[in-house]
Symmetry: C5
Subunit: 231 residues, 5 copies
């Protein structure tokens, strides 16, 4: 099981009152948050995404991965000490693990979301219980045809992790792509597939803009945008 | 695909405490917000709507459009720096794209909501999954009869954009009209149509009063109303 | 269509912190709110209701009516400038219009809720979609027998307005009566009727105590009750 | 109808910030709240319950009864003036009336919850609409067998009041007992009864510790517990 | 019935503003909270869990047990006086009791969650009403095969307590284990079992890190993590 990893998606919404603080205080608040991220990322996977302009209830998403759950606990303890965390809510949080898929020859992935694509399309999924009552071959057949539609979109990579018993959803599904329109077309094309009829829940859906943690933090109070405008 | 555009609906609710600030501070807060809007609108589409008097959970709606998603991200980063944003929540947010409709000969629209009509009637829509299991001709037949009812109301224009995989709803549906009573009658007349039975969700519904961004901002603290009273 | 009117129900919940303000500040806050109401009511319909003691999430309900939606928008802009509005949330809001009923010979009512009865029983209603799939004669038959039960309670008057496409509900239903026990009995007696089985949603239900805007405002901080106690 | 009474359940959650106030301010806040309660209770029924340690979203429940609804309105106006009310939210509120039950020979009760038992188990109930479509004899038969199970637990008394048309639920159901384990066993034993299958909603469920209003108020900031510890 | 116990799960979310307080004030706040815990634990069962890094809506979970409900009430009154409680919300709360299971020869457990395993996986459960309509032997047969799957995971211990009539759920289900991946596999393996199809609700699901109350409190502001980093 050494190749399984925990994948933790943490969603932050910054209190609008934080933007009323002085520039240097905000800079220090972000610096402390960033230091915690960089420290974790020295030998573990940390990815950052901004949802400003795509969602109203979330500003920043962190994806942290480790084969040890206590490392994720410790990271979030340290992060909670940072100045920015004192002004942040976490409206969503998904804890999941990778696992060998029954529909693929591949083993469990030791890390997910490793591409350099521009966007991450992310949602928690729960299947209807009647899905699990189908014979295994039946489920296999249905998933195969679902996967075939996906193959027609080679520029989009899928990352599925599992939350059974650990968190409210059964799966966390994350797609990486450069073209949101292409992903929209894929999802719409999947609607008439048989597997789609077994979905119980697949919202909220987050369109996340991939960027460095530093840039995602700067987007919170516009520092980066201003610098770019001056530059 | 150069003719597809992203359409982002952002809904603002202003903290009642903002109204307790001094007049000149509020004026500055609005000025900064307006500057960001005007800057974006130089060569891209931005429309503003007030929902004061029609909704209780939203005060102001912005519709921004661009074929590039990063431009919408950057706009919202800049907007977040404005004084007013420091006192605003965003209780709703819809991200969508235009797309060629299977029920029309028209291509994807490069811009939506371009009329000068007084009201925008706006809601997110999700169809029941069994809809997508129907044969294509069947769906075509059902939508045709739905569309025919709409044709009887030529003063009402429809703007549909798509959110599959990008946001929680499948469609964002926006109607433009001058007479809310006429739109009410149309929607009630559509209830017995076959297509209506396939709706899973179509709320919340927003009746939005179309106006310039400046007027929609002035409505937040009554400046415009006062000026009109003096004038 | 000159006889149709917009009916806007606005629900206010006052921040408990408002009650910590000084007496004279609270008096001024209420005075400004009342002035906006009285100004609107000069030549248009405005009714006020208190829900203190009947609901936990709402303190005050205003019903404003006008054949012009922009007048309702302007009224709420002006109201928002008042001191009290700076401490108020609007947890609910129903926008509706009157319309000729298919089950009655009467035309659209130019004004609703005109009686002097003591209580208003108010709720938003959505019917199941299968209702709209029934043949018109069938719906007519079912509604007739529903209406007959209501006729046995002549002391209760009904006011139905329509929200299709304008707001989240299909109907806003408002009953006026002097005896809540009698209304309770009527509603329970309606449960076994055929029409009742087609209800999708009919909550929240508000029992509203009818009174002048001045008295409803005084109920917010007990001024009236104190005066009565002294008197 | 002189023997029917209104029964109003009001649920309070105290802002954690209230506990940061000075001891004497908190004492005064509670004194004012208690004075309102004692005044009402001079010739009407008022009962108090603490939910500290049994619920997370409510601290204190008041049950006030009167045959006149305006008396309940006035009581809540006066209560709202007290210091404690300035720091309290009311997350739940149930308005109901007593009524003659069709399943019993007894008339409408002039007062409910009159026992000296230690606990009150309280929940709002809505039945499925198909229940009301059953013939009356059928409903009578089903309820009889439901009531028979209850008879096997003579130490538990039931108090049912009615909210049709007055509030969101159809019934408010309140059981009084000294032994929570016995009540748990009764409810579990009722699950396989026919009537149980017709329940649409019966949550939230509140386990309330019965005590004087003074003690329930003291439990809010631990004064009573401290006194007991010192004593 | 002397061997039954109440089991109370209390979930705390600390206001981000608490982290802005001075170090010594925070230390005192935690000390008072800990003192209440230690006092209770002298002769009763108290367990603490951190959910930092696993959930976004909860930071700390306390499980307190006593055969007397008034002791749990008094504990929460005392706890509410502590400095930390003045900055804490309780977004969830489960009240339950142990009880003899119909599917086991064992009696009611006098205490649950007694292992030294690293994690607690916890959720409230409600079964579909049709479950209770099955004949007893049928339910027995279905549960037996469910339990057999669990037996294949001997490193995971199950603790079920009952909430019928006392709180919103029917059961509180708590699993103890050292390996979250193993638990995830077990839950996924249970999905195709017959019993799984009778689940009405089983969320939210909490992955809780077991630790002393002192450590769980230190995780709130990172004191422990810092000490470890220095050590």
């Amino acid at each position: 099981m050494a190749d399984r990893t925990f994948a933790k998606f943490t969603f932050f919404k910054i209190d609008p009152a934080w933007r009323r603080r002085d520039d240097d205080l905000r800079a220090a608040d972000k610096r402390e948050f960033l230091a915690a991220c960089e420290d974790f990322a020295v030998d573990r996977s940390l990815r950052a995404y901004s949802t400003i302009g795509t969602r109203g209830d979330v500003d920043l998403v962190l994806l942290t991965q480790s084969p040890r759950l206590d490392e994720l606990h410790t990271f979030h303890v340290v992060l909670g000490q940072s100045g920015l965390a004192r002004w942040a809510e976490t409206p969503y949080s998904f804890l999941s693990m990778t696992k060998r898929s029954p529909y693929s020859a591949e083993g469990a992935r030791p890390e997910i979301c490793v591409s350099e694509r521009k966007y991450l399309f992310l949602y928690p999924m729960v299947k209807q219980r009647r899905w699990y009552g189908l014979p295994e071959e039946e489920r296999m057949r249905i998933m195969k045809s679902h996967i075939e539609v996906g193959r027609r979109y080679p520029e989009i990579s899928i990352n599925t992790s599992y939350s059974f018993g650990l968190d409210d959803q059964e799966f966390v599904v994350a797609f990486e792509g450069d073209d949101p329109g292409e992903f929209l077309d894929l999802v719409q094309e999947l609607r008439p597939t048989e597997s789609s009829a077994f979905t119980e829940r697949e919202t909220p859906i987050f369109t996340c803009v991939s960027m460095s943690a530093r840039k995602a933090l700067d987007a919170l109070d516009g520092t980066a945008a201003v610098a770019a405008a001056l530059g």
